[in-house]
Structures are given as structure tokens and as C-alpha cells.
């Protein structure tokens, strides 16, 4: 047995080494580097006359005192808070529809899933056309209000640009959560529904008494993944509004991109990256906390 253990150690090291080396070089090292750089004034293209200096927590103080970063953070939080329930709610509704006696459910499921396989760049191009001055959404507004609404420039209006981005993000993202919810719904014991029926429960009571509690773990998973995903908002913003108008759609990731790549202030971008990571970490820890407290209940 001792012999087997020894052989296992050397071959395990050998078998794992490609993955572990790559993770060390391309995940752990850049991560530590981000932390280290956040305390320096490192430039993307180094200025040979000045060199890189240790600046303490100056980058953090600078960012936290910068209205642009605070606005980006607020925007990202707002996007996350609004898109997560919208997208998850629509996903749950679609999943419940697919979990009924609907004929040809697999065909509908296949169609509902389509937006997820369309890449975000394509989605942005299509929706940019829908939000044109003479596009679909203005036509819809015109029809709904009987021609009384003014023409709206969705993506150039500080109040409407973010809702527009939320709408298309939910459209592209909902099928993912829908499929997860569908799996969750199918795991609920059908006898619980039978019992509720016997007790004379209305569909509404059934939903709150059986469906929602049965989906508790699914909810936590969906909410956490959607929240983290939403916090990474970048592609559609960079393509459709470039953070505008007046910074109304600037996001944390786009702030990092602009500071580090466009302006070359790697130190500032690194500090923003570290803070971005801490937020994602906080969301994940909240998840773990909820999960464990739930297992204790059982």
C-alpha cells in the first residue's frame, strides 16, 4: 500500500503538471501581479526616464475619489439589480411554460434557447438597429401611444440608455437560466402538487407553496451566476453606447479597460481590477453563506 501511494504521488504530479503550471502562470501570477501593480504607477508603455515607483494606496484613493469610477460602479450595480430579476423572472416564466402540457415542448425549448448561441457582438448590432430613431421601439411607442409620444433616442438618452441595454442583455441571457430552472422544476416531486390539489390549492397558492420553495437551491444558483455575469457588463456597452451619454452607461470593466488599455495607466487599472474582484468575491461568499445556513436547516 505504501508503494502504491508513492507511485501515485509522482505520477499524479506528472499528470497534473500541465494544468497546474498553466494556472500558475496565467491565473495566479497575473492575479498577484494585479495586486502588486495596484500599489505602483506602472504604465503600459514604460517611460524609461521615470521608471515605476511604489505609490502606496494612492491609486485606490484616487479611484474612490473619482466621480467617473463611482458613477461606473453605480451604473454597474444598477444594471445588475435591474437585469437580474428581469432576466431570471422571464427565464422562470418560460421554464414553467415548458414544464406544462404544452405540445411540442422540445421544439419550443429549442427555439427559446436560440439567443444564447448568438454572440453578443451580433446581438448588439441587431438591437442597435431596433433602437434607431426610426427603429422598431420607436414605432412600437408610436403605435401604443396613438402617435402622441415624441421620438426617443434610446441609446443617447441618459435615462433610457441603461434600460435599453438591460432589455437586450436579458433577451440574450435568459435561455441559460431558463434551462437551469426547467431542470429544477422537473426535480420537484409531483406528489407535492397532487397533495396541494387535494387540499384545494389555487394555482397561485401552488406556485408560492410548492414551486418556489422547491426551487430554492436553483434560485440561489441562478441569482448568483446572473449577478456575477451582470457585473462583468462590457461588450454591449462598449459597442452600443461607449459608456455614454454623459457616462450614464459606463461600467466597472469598461473603466478598467479605458484606464489600463486606452490611457495606459496600468497601476490605476490594477487597483480598479482588485476592487472589481473583491465585489465578485463578496457575492460568492454571500452565496456560500446562504448555502451553508440552508444545509444546517435541513
Amino acid at each position: 500500500m505504501a508503494g502504491l501511494r508513492q507511485r501515485d504521488t509522482s505520477s499524479a504530479a506528472l499528470i497534473m503538471s500541465p494544468a497546474l503550471i498553466l494556472i500558475g502562470v496565467f491565473v495566479i501570477f497575473p492575479f498577484l501581479l494585479a495586486i502588486a501593480l495596484s500599489f505602483t504607477n506602472q504604465r503600459l508603455v514604460p517611460n524609461l526616464n521615470v521608471g515605476t515607483q511604489f505609490v502606496g494606496i494612492n491609486n485606490y484613493l484616487r479611484i474612490l475619489g473619482q466621480p467617473e469610477f463611482l458613477q461606473a460602479f453605480r451604473n454597474t450595480a444598477l444594471f445588475t439589480i435591474l437585469v437580474t430579476p428581469l432576466q431570471s423572472g422571464f427565464a422562470l416564466a418560460a421554464a414553467m411554460l415548458l414544464n406544462t402540457k404544452l405540445p411540442a415542448r422540445n421544439v419550443f425549448r429549442g427555439i427559446f434557447f436560440l439567443p444564447t448561441v448568438i454572440t453578443m457582438v451580433v446581438v448588439s448590432v441587431i438591437w442597435f438597429a431596433l433602437f434607431r430613431l426610426d427603429g422598431f421601439f420607436n414605432q412600437l411607442l408610436w403605435v401604443v401611444t396613438g402617435g402622441n409620444a415624441p421620438v426617443v433616442d434610446w441609446l443617447h438618452n441618459p435615462w433610457l440608455a441603461m434600460p435599453a441595454l438591460i432589455l437586450l442583455s436579458a433577451w440574450q441571457g435568459f435561455p441559460f437560466q431558463m434551462v437551469v430552472y426547467l431542470a429544477g422544476l422537473q426535480q420537484i416531486n409531483p406528489e407535492l402538487y397532487e397533495a396541494a390539489k387535494v387540499d384545494g390549492a389555487k394555482p397561485w397558492d401552488e406556485f408560492w407553496g410548492v414551486t418556489m420553495p422547491g426551487l430554492r437551491n436553483t434560485h440561489i444558483f441562478v441569482l448568483v451566476t446572473t449577478t456575477i455575469l451582470a457585473f462583468k457588463l462590457f461588450t454591449q456597452v462598449n459597442l452600443m453606447t461607449q459608456g455614454g451619454p454623459e457616462g450614464a452607461t459606463q461600467t466597472v470593466v469598461r473603466f478598467i479597460y479605458e484606464q489600463g488599455f486606452t490611457r495606459g495607466s496600468v497601476g490605476v487599472a490594477a487597483a480598479a481590477s482588485v476592487m472589481f474582484f473583491l465585489v465578485v468575491l463578496a457575492i460568492s461568499i454571500a452565496q456560500r453563506y446562504i448555502f451553508t445556513s440552508e444545509e444546517e436547516v435541513r
Binding site: 496565467f26 419550443f108 434557447f113 451580433v122 431596433l130 496600468v266 481590477s273
Partner: protein, 281 residues
């Protein structure tokens, strides 16, 4: 019993969702088939944006995109295909091997490595982009394929998915092989991997979607057609007005087609892979 009654209400709801899902895609196809850009602009203001007269249909926009020498569509598509397939194939081999050792072999430090890998899952790529860019600039990997492939091969979440699957395979399988004198590598390659098609498909599909959707990293690391992926080429085309909607949509249709075809052929696997990503350990 009237169990055979058709649930018209449910069908109506489902068709409504279908319209919401398909209408934007349908508009993309309709506009791409209109050769006359003036007509496209006129049609935007009405329901005709979602319609193309069968006798006006033309593949002219597609021809223009394919014939463009400055922005070679097929080269961009090849770049994307090469990058995504390389990540997926090398990723499957390396990540599954690591997970095999963690789940089937006994050695000191196993628990620690596993815990660290699981902790690493939450580090978002976006937080590593700037230091990675600095590293790439230092080693001269800007504008290369390897800068878009090698950093993403090893993937803690894929290792975790493989680990979960391998842990559920019966232990007797490899115990028997070990007794007969098989090496760990033989057990991995000849016994465990052939049984793991479902998880291989899951990882392959999730990884493909993730890197097909990559935007931030190729935006920073590539410039010209040499190594730039196709989604970035569309972004670049879109980012340089005036908007030629017919051509933009033709470009979009053409770059979506390969993925759509793959999706329609392996629909069940796509959906299954999303579900398995959600089953937590």
C-alpha cells in the same frame, strides 16, 4: 375525461415567446437579403424591416462581404475557429488529466490543491486582463494566436466539472486495472476517458460558447486580420460609420450560421451542458 383537449392558451403564450426570440433574428436575415441600402433605410420605419419581398431577395451583401480584401471574412472566421478549437481540445486533455489525478489518485496535498482550484473559479478574467496584457507585451505575444489560446487552456471550472464526474465513476474500475499493473496514465486514457463522453461534451460546449463570445481580450491583444477573431471584425466594421446595414447583417448572419448549425445538430447536448454546469457539488 377530456385529457385530449388542446391547451390553446399555453400554445399562444409559447408562440409569443417565440416571436420575442425570433423577431430580432428574423430582421437580421431580412435586412441582409436587401441589396438596396436605400430600401433598407426606408423600411426601418415600418413592419417591412421584418420582411423582404421574395422577388427582391439578393445575396449581393453576402458577395460584397466575401469579396472584401481589406477585411477578409473567411480569414477572420478561420482565426476564430482555430482559437476556439485549440482551447477546447487542449483544454479537455489537460483539465481532465488534472481532475483524474485529483479524484482517482492518492497523494499528499490533494485536498489543498482541490480547494485552491475551486477558489480560483471565482477570479473573473476581466480582473486579470490588464496584468495579462502587460505580460503579453513583455514576452512579445501581442497580435498572436498563442496569446489568445494558451492563457485559457487550463480552466479551474472545467477541472471542477471533470472532477465531479470522475468522482461518481465506480472505484472498482480502476482498482481492478491497478491490480493488473496498469499505470495511472493508462487508467486515465483507456478506462476513465472513454466513459466520460457526457462531461467532455459539456466542457467542450461551455468552453466553445465562452471563447466564441470573447470580446475584451481580443480587443486588446489583436489589431489586424492576421489573428483577429470574426466577432471583433464585426465589431470593427460596426464601429466605423456610416452603417451599411445590409452588409452588417449579412456579416452577422454568416458568422452566426456555423454556431447555429452546430446548435441545431447537437441541441440536446447544448442544453444538457448548461444544466450540468448548474448542478453544484
Amino acid at each position: 375525461m377530456n385529457t385530449a383537449r388542446t391547451p390553446y392558451g399555453l400554445i399562444a403564450l409559447a408562440l409569443m415567446v417565440c416571436v420575442i426570440v425570433i423577431a430580432p433574428l428574423y430582421m437580421m436575415v431580412a435586412i441582409s437579403l436587401k441589396a438596396d441600402e436605400q430600401q433598407v433605410l426606408l423600411d426601418f420605419g415600418s413592419w417591412r424591416a421584418f420582411w423582404v419581398n421574395p422577388w427582391d431577395m439578393s445575396l449581393e451583401n453576402y458577395r460584397i462581404i466575401l469579396a472584401d480584401k481589406v477585411s477578409p471574412f473567411l480569414r477572420y472566421l478561420f482565426n476564430s475557429a482555430l482559437i476556439v478549437t485549440s482551447i477546447v481540445i487542449f483544454g479537455i486533455l489537460i483539465n481532465s488529466a488534472c481532475a483524474f489525478a485529483l479524484s482517482r489518485l492518492r497523494f499528499a496535498g490533494r485536498g489543498v490543491i482541490l480547494a485552491v482550484l475551486i477558489a480560483l473559479i471565482i477570479i473573473p478574467m476581466e480582473a486579470l486582463a490588464i496584468p495579462l496584457l502587460l505580460i503579453m507585451a513583455r514576452v512579445g505575444w501581442l497580435e498572436t494566436y498563442q496569446a489568445q489560446i494558451i492563457p485559457f487552456i487550463a480552466h479551474p471550472f472545467s477541472i471542477f466539472l471533470f472532477y465531479q464526474f470522475f468522482s461518481k465513476l465506480p472505484k472498482d474500475l480502476d482498482e481492478a486495472a491497478f491490480v493488473e499493473g496498469a499505470t495511472p496514465f493508462q487508467v486515465y486514457w483507456k478506462i476513465v476517458m472513454p466513459l466520460s463522453l457526457p462531461v467532455i461534451a459539456t466542457v467542450a460546449i461551455l468552453q466553445s460558447l465562452e471563447y466564441w463570445n470573447a470580446y475584451l481580450w481580443p480587443l486588446m491583444i489583436t489589431r489586424g486580420p492576421a489573428t483577429r477573431p470574426v466577432s471583433l471584425a464585426l465589431a470593427q466594421f460596426f464601429g466605423t460609420p456610416p452603417y451599411l446595414w445590409g452588409q452588417l447583417m449579412a456579416f452577422s448572419v454568416m458568422m452566426s450560421l456555423p454556431v447555429l448549425i452546430l446548435y441545431l445538430s447537437f441541441q440536446r447536448w447544448f442544453i444538457q451542458s448548461v444544466v450540468s454546469s448548474a448542478i453544484k457539488g
